[in-house]
Protein backbone atom coordinates (compact mmCIF):
# COMPACT_ATOMS: atom_id res chain seq x y z
CA UNK A 1 0.00 0.00 0.00
CA UNK A 2 2.73 2.38 1.06
CA UNK A 3 4.90 1.45 -1.85
CA UNK A 4 1.99 2.05 -4.20
CA UNK A 5 1.60 5.53 -2.79
CA UNK A 6 5.31 6.15 -3.09
CA UNK A 7 5.36 4.90 -6.63
CA UNK A 8 2.56 7.23 -7.44
CA UNK A 9 4.35 10.15 -5.81
CA UNK A 10 7.49 9.32 -7.72
CA UNK A 11 5.54 9.08 -10.94
CA UNK A 12 3.87 12.37 -10.23
CA UNK A 13 7.09 14.21 -9.64
CA UNK A 14 8.49 12.68 -12.79
CA UNK A 15 5.48 14.02 -14.57
CA UNK A 16 6.16 17.51 -13.32
CA UNK A 17 9.73 17.37 -14.55
CA UNK A 18 8.92 18.10 -18.12
CA UNK A 19 5.99 20.14 -19.25
CA UNK A 20 6.05 18.39 -22.55
CA UNK A 21 5.61 15.00 -20.99
CA UNK A 22 2.71 16.36 -19.03
CA UNK A 23 1.04 17.58 -22.14
CA UNK A 24 1.53 14.26 -23.82
CA UNK A 25 -0.13 12.50 -20.92
CA UNK A 26 -2.99 14.96 -20.91
CA UNK A 27 -3.47 14.28 -24.55
CA UNK A 28 -3.43 10.56 -23.92
CA UNK A 29 -6.00 10.84 -21.17
CA UNK A 30 -8.19 13.08 -23.28
CA UNK A 31 -8.00 10.67 -26.16
CA UNK A 32 -8.93 7.66 -24.10
CA UNK A 33 -11.77 9.43 -22.36
CA UNK A 34 -13.12 11.04 -25.49
CA UNK A 35 -13.15 7.73 -27.32
CA UNK A 36 -15.43 6.30 -24.61
CA UNK A 37 -18.33 7.91 -26.39
CA UNK A 38 -18.03 5.39 -29.22
CA UNK A 39 -17.84 2.44 -26.85
CA UNK A 40 -20.95 0.28 -27.36
CA UNK A 41 -21.31 0.08 -23.57
CA UNK A 42 -21.25 3.81 -23.04
CA UNK A 43 -24.77 4.83 -22.08
CA UNK A 44 -24.41 8.42 -23.24
CA UNK A 45 -23.16 7.28 -26.62
CA UNK A 46 -25.92 4.70 -26.99
CA UNK A 47 -28.64 7.22 -26.14
CA UNK A 48 -27.17 9.84 -28.40
CA UNK A 49 -27.13 7.40 -31.28
CA UNK A 50 -30.70 6.21 -30.62
CA UNK A 51 -31.95 9.79 -30.69
CA UNK A 52 -30.04 10.48 -33.88
CA UNK A 53 -31.20 7.25 -35.50
CA UNK A 54 -34.84 8.03 -34.68
CA UNK A 55 -34.63 11.18 -36.80
CA UNK A 56 -32.47 9.59 -39.46
CA UNK A 57 -35.02 6.84 -40.01
CA UNK A 58 -37.84 9.31 -40.62
CA UNK A 59 -39.04 9.50 -44.21
CA UNK A 60 -37.41 12.43 -46.05
CA UNK A 61 -40.07 15.17 -46.11
CA UNK A 62 -41.59 15.85 -49.54
CA UNK A 63 -40.51 19.48 -49.42
CA UNK A 64 -36.90 18.43 -49.93
CA UNK A 65 -37.64 16.04 -52.77
CA UNK A 66 -39.76 18.73 -54.45
CA UNK A 67 -37.03 21.28 -53.95
CA UNK A 68 -34.37 19.06 -55.51
CA UNK A 69 -36.69 18.26 -58.38
CA UNK A 70 -37.24 21.98 -59.02
CA UNK A 71 -33.54 22.78 -58.80
CA UNK A 72 -32.81 19.98 -61.21
CA UNK A 73 -35.48 21.14 -63.67
CA UNK A 74 -34.31 24.74 -63.53
CA UNK A 75 -30.81 23.66 -64.28
CA UNK A 76 -31.81 21.44 -67.19
CA UNK A 77 -33.85 24.30 -68.67
CA UNK A 78 -30.90 26.61 -68.29
CA UNK A 79 -28.48 24.23 -69.97
CA UNK A 80 -30.98 23.50 -72.75
CA UNK A 81 -31.16 27.22 -73.44
CA UNK A 82 -27.40 27.43 -73.48
CA UNK A 83 -27.23 24.62 -76.03
CA UNK A 84 -29.60 26.37 -78.41
Amino acid sequence: MLSMARKRQQAKSDELMTVQKNEELDQQRLELRASDILDPNNQIGVKLRSLYAAVQEEVIPDRFLDLLEKLDEAEMMASAKMAE
Binding site: K12, L30, A34, D36, V55, R63
Partner: protein, 184 residues
Protein backbone atom coordinates in the same frame (compact mmCIF):
# COMPACT_ATOMS: atom_id res chain seq x y z
CA UNK B 1 -20.35 17.44 -66.75
CA UNK B 2 -23.56 15.83 -68.01
CA UNK B 3 -23.00 12.91 -65.66
CA UNK B 4 -21.82 14.90 -62.69
CA UNK B 5 -25.20 16.46 -62.05
CA UNK B 6 -27.45 13.50 -61.44
CA UNK B 7 -24.88 11.86 -59.22
CA UNK B 8 -24.44 15.08 -57.26
CA UNK B 9 -28.16 15.03 -56.62
CA UNK B 10 -28.07 11.35 -55.75
CA UNK B 11 -25.25 11.83 -53.26
CA UNK B 12 -26.99 14.81 -51.76
CA UNK B 13 -30.15 12.76 -51.32
CA UNK B 14 -28.19 9.95 -49.72
CA UNK B 15 -26.68 12.33 -47.16
CA UNK B 16 -29.99 14.05 -46.42
CA UNK B 17 -31.27 11.82 -43.57
CA UNK B 18 -28.05 12.28 -41.64
CA UNK B 19 -27.89 16.01 -42.39
CA UNK B 20 -31.43 16.37 -41.09
CA UNK B 21 -30.66 14.34 -37.99
CA UNK B 22 -27.70 16.64 -37.34
CA UNK B 23 -29.84 19.75 -37.74
CA UNK B 24 -32.60 18.44 -35.49
CA UNK B 25 -30.17 17.29 -32.81
CA UNK B 26 -28.48 20.70 -32.90
CA UNK B 27 -31.59 22.85 -32.88
CA UNK B 28 -34.07 20.64 -31.08
CA UNK B 29 -37.00 21.63 -33.27
CA UNK B 30 -38.14 19.94 -36.45
CA UNK B 31 -39.58 23.05 -38.13
CA UNK B 32 -36.54 25.30 -37.70
CA UNK B 33 -34.18 22.44 -38.45
CA UNK B 34 -35.97 21.66 -41.71
CA UNK B 35 -35.81 25.32 -42.74
CA UNK B 36 -32.08 25.18 -42.14
CA UNK B 37 -31.75 21.97 -44.14
CA UNK B 38 -33.62 23.64 -46.99
CA UNK B 39 -31.28 26.63 -46.92
CA UNK B 40 -28.35 24.21 -46.88
CA UNK B 41 -29.62 22.34 -49.94
CA UNK B 42 -30.00 25.63 -51.84
CA UNK B 43 -26.50 26.75 -50.85
CA UNK B 44 -24.98 23.40 -51.73
CA UNK B 45 -26.74 23.33 -55.06
CA UNK B 46 -25.47 26.78 -55.94
CA UNK B 47 -21.95 25.77 -54.91
CA UNK B 48 -21.91 22.33 -56.52
CA UNK B 49 -19.12 23.32 -58.88
CA UNK B 50 -16.94 23.71 -55.79
CA UNK B 51 -17.58 20.17 -54.73
CA UNK B 52 -15.16 17.53 -55.90
CA UNK B 53 -17.01 14.32 -56.66
CA UNK B 54 -15.53 11.42 -54.79
CA UNK B 55 -14.67 13.50 -51.74
CA UNK B 56 -16.76 13.44 -48.59
CA UNK B 57 -20.16 14.88 -49.56
CA UNK B 58 -21.54 14.38 -46.07
CA UNK B 59 -18.76 16.40 -44.43
CA UNK B 60 -19.13 19.09 -47.08
CA UNK B 61 -22.88 19.40 -46.46
CA UNK B 62 -22.44 19.41 -42.69
CA UNK B 63 -19.94 22.25 -43.00
CA UNK B 64 -22.36 24.28 -45.12
CA UNK B 65 -25.23 23.64 -42.70
CA UNK B 66 -23.14 24.63 -39.72
CA UNK B 67 -21.88 27.83 -41.36
CA UNK B 68 -25.40 28.69 -42.40
CA UNK B 69 -26.72 28.14 -38.87
CA UNK B 70 -24.09 30.33 -37.26
CA UNK B 71 -24.43 33.10 -39.81
CA UNK B 72 -28.22 33.10 -39.36
CA UNK B 73 -27.73 33.27 -35.61
CA UNK B 74 -25.35 36.19 -35.92
CA UNK B 75 -27.87 38.04 -38.08
CA UNK B 76 -30.89 37.39 -35.91
CA UNK B 77 -29.14 37.51 -32.55
CA UNK B 78 -31.09 34.40 -31.69
CA UNK B 79 -29.71 31.45 -29.80
CA UNK B 80 -29.59 27.99 -31.33
CA UNK B 81 -32.08 26.62 -28.88
CA UNK B 82 -35.15 28.52 -27.92
CA UNK B 83 -36.60 27.06 -24.80
CA UNK B 84 -40.18 28.19 -25.48
CA UNK B 85 -40.17 26.26 -28.69
CA UNK B 86 -38.63 23.24 -27.10
CA UNK B 87 -41.59 22.71 -24.85
CA UNK B 88 -44.08 22.99 -27.69
CA UNK B 89 -41.96 20.68 -29.74
CA UNK B 90 -41.74 18.07 -27.05
CA UNK B 91 -45.52 18.13 -26.69
CA UNK B 92 -46.05 17.83 -30.41
CA UNK B 93 -43.21 15.42 -31.00
CA UNK B 94 -43.92 12.15 -32.70
CA UNK B 95 -44.57 9.95 -29.69
CA UNK B 96 -43.75 6.77 -31.56
CA UNK B 97 -40.27 7.95 -32.38
CA UNK B 98 -39.36 9.54 -29.09
CA UNK B 99 -41.63 7.36 -27.03
CA UNK B 100 -39.02 6.12 -24.64
CA UNK B 101 -39.07 8.40 -21.63
CA UNK B 102 -35.34 8.20 -21.14
CA UNK B 103 -34.77 9.40 -24.68
CA UNK B 104 -36.93 12.44 -23.93
CA UNK B 105 -34.81 13.12 -20.87
CA UNK B 106 -31.71 12.67 -22.92
CA UNK B 107 -32.92 15.18 -25.49
CA UNK B 108 -33.57 17.73 -22.74
CA UNK B 109 -30.10 17.16 -21.33
CA UNK B 110 -28.52 17.51 -24.76
CA UNK B 111 -30.32 20.83 -25.20
CA UNK B 112 -28.67 22.12 -22.04
CA UNK B 113 -25.14 21.74 -23.36
CA UNK B 114 -23.21 24.72 -24.69
CA UNK B 115 -23.57 24.74 -28.51
CA UNK B 116 -19.90 23.98 -29.21
CA UNK B 117 -19.96 20.92 -26.96
CA UNK B 118 -23.27 19.76 -28.34
CA UNK B 119 -22.14 19.84 -31.94
CA UNK B 120 -18.86 18.11 -31.10
CA UNK B 121 -20.48 15.21 -29.30
CA UNK B 122 -23.10 14.78 -32.05
CA UNK B 123 -20.56 14.84 -34.88
CA UNK B 124 -18.24 12.33 -33.23
CA UNK B 125 -20.71 10.29 -31.19
CA UNK B 126 -23.59 9.97 -33.64
CA UNK B 127 -22.85 11.29 -37.13
CA UNK B 128 -19.91 8.96 -37.54
CA UNK B 129 -17.19 11.53 -38.17
CA UNK B 130 -13.62 11.10 -37.01
CA UNK B 131 -12.14 13.74 -34.70
CA UNK B 132 -10.18 15.07 -37.65
CA UNK B 133 -13.28 15.41 -39.81
CA UNK B 134 -15.24 16.99 -36.96
CA UNK B 135 -12.41 19.47 -36.42
CA UNK B 136 -12.49 20.40 -40.07
CA UNK B 137 -16.27 20.85 -40.05
CA UNK B 138 -16.09 23.09 -36.98
CA UNK B 139 -12.95 24.90 -38.10
CA UNK B 140 -10.97 24.16 -34.95
CA UNK B 141 -8.12 21.99 -33.69
CA UNK B 142 -8.54 18.24 -33.20
CA UNK B 143 -7.61 18.61 -29.53
CA UNK B 144 -10.39 21.16 -29.10
CA UNK B 145 -12.94 18.69 -30.47
CA UNK B 146 -11.64 16.00 -28.15
CA UNK B 147 -11.93 18.16 -25.09
CA UNK B 148 -15.41 19.36 -26.11
CA UNK B 149 -16.60 15.78 -26.60
CA UNK B 150 -15.16 14.88 -23.26
CA UNK B 151 -16.74 17.79 -21.42
CA UNK B 152 -20.07 17.17 -23.15
CA UNK B 153 -20.00 13.55 -22.10
CA UNK B 154 -19.22 14.44 -18.50
CA UNK B 155 -21.94 17.08 -18.38
CA UNK B 156 -24.51 14.68 -19.83
CA UNK B 157 -23.52 12.09 -17.26
CA UNK B 158 -24.08 14.65 -14.52
CA UNK B 159 -27.40 15.83 -15.92
CA UNK B 160 -28.73 12.32 -16.39
CA UNK B 161 -27.09 11.10 -13.20
CA UNK B 162 -25.43 8.24 -14.95
CA UNK B 163 -22.52 7.19 -12.85
CA UNK B 164 -20.35 6.53 -15.88
CA UNK B 165 -17.74 3.84 -16.19
CA UNK B 166 -18.98 1.77 -13.27
CA UNK B 167 -22.16 0.83 -15.12
CA UNK B 168 -20.43 -0.54 -18.14
CA UNK B 169 -19.22 -3.93 -19.11
CA UNK B 170 -15.70 -5.26 -18.64
CA UNK B 171 -14.36 -3.72 -21.84
CA UNK B 172 -15.43 -0.25 -20.93
CA UNK B 173 -14.20 -0.59 -17.36
CA UNK B 174 -10.80 -1.85 -18.25
CA UNK B 175 -10.02 0.95 -20.68
CA UNK B 176 -10.45 3.83 -18.20
CA UNK B 177 -8.46 1.80 -15.68
CA UNK B 178 -5.63 1.40 -18.13
CA UNK B 179 -5.83 5.06 -18.96
CA UNK B 180 -5.47 5.90 -15.30
CA UNK B 181 -2.52 3.55 -14.97
CA UNK B 182 -0.85 5.37 -17.81
CA UNK B 183 -1.66 8.73 -16.42
CA UNK B 184 -0.19 8.34 -12.97
Amino acid sequence: MENAQPSFKRELLAALPSLRAFAISLIGRHDRADDLVQDTIMKAWAKQDHFEMGTNMKAWLFTILRNELYSQMRKSGREIQDSDGLFTESMAMHPSQYGALDLQDFKKALDQLPPDQREAIILVGASGFSYEEAAEICGCAVGTIKSRVNRARQRLQELLQISGEADFGPDATSSPLTSRAFAF
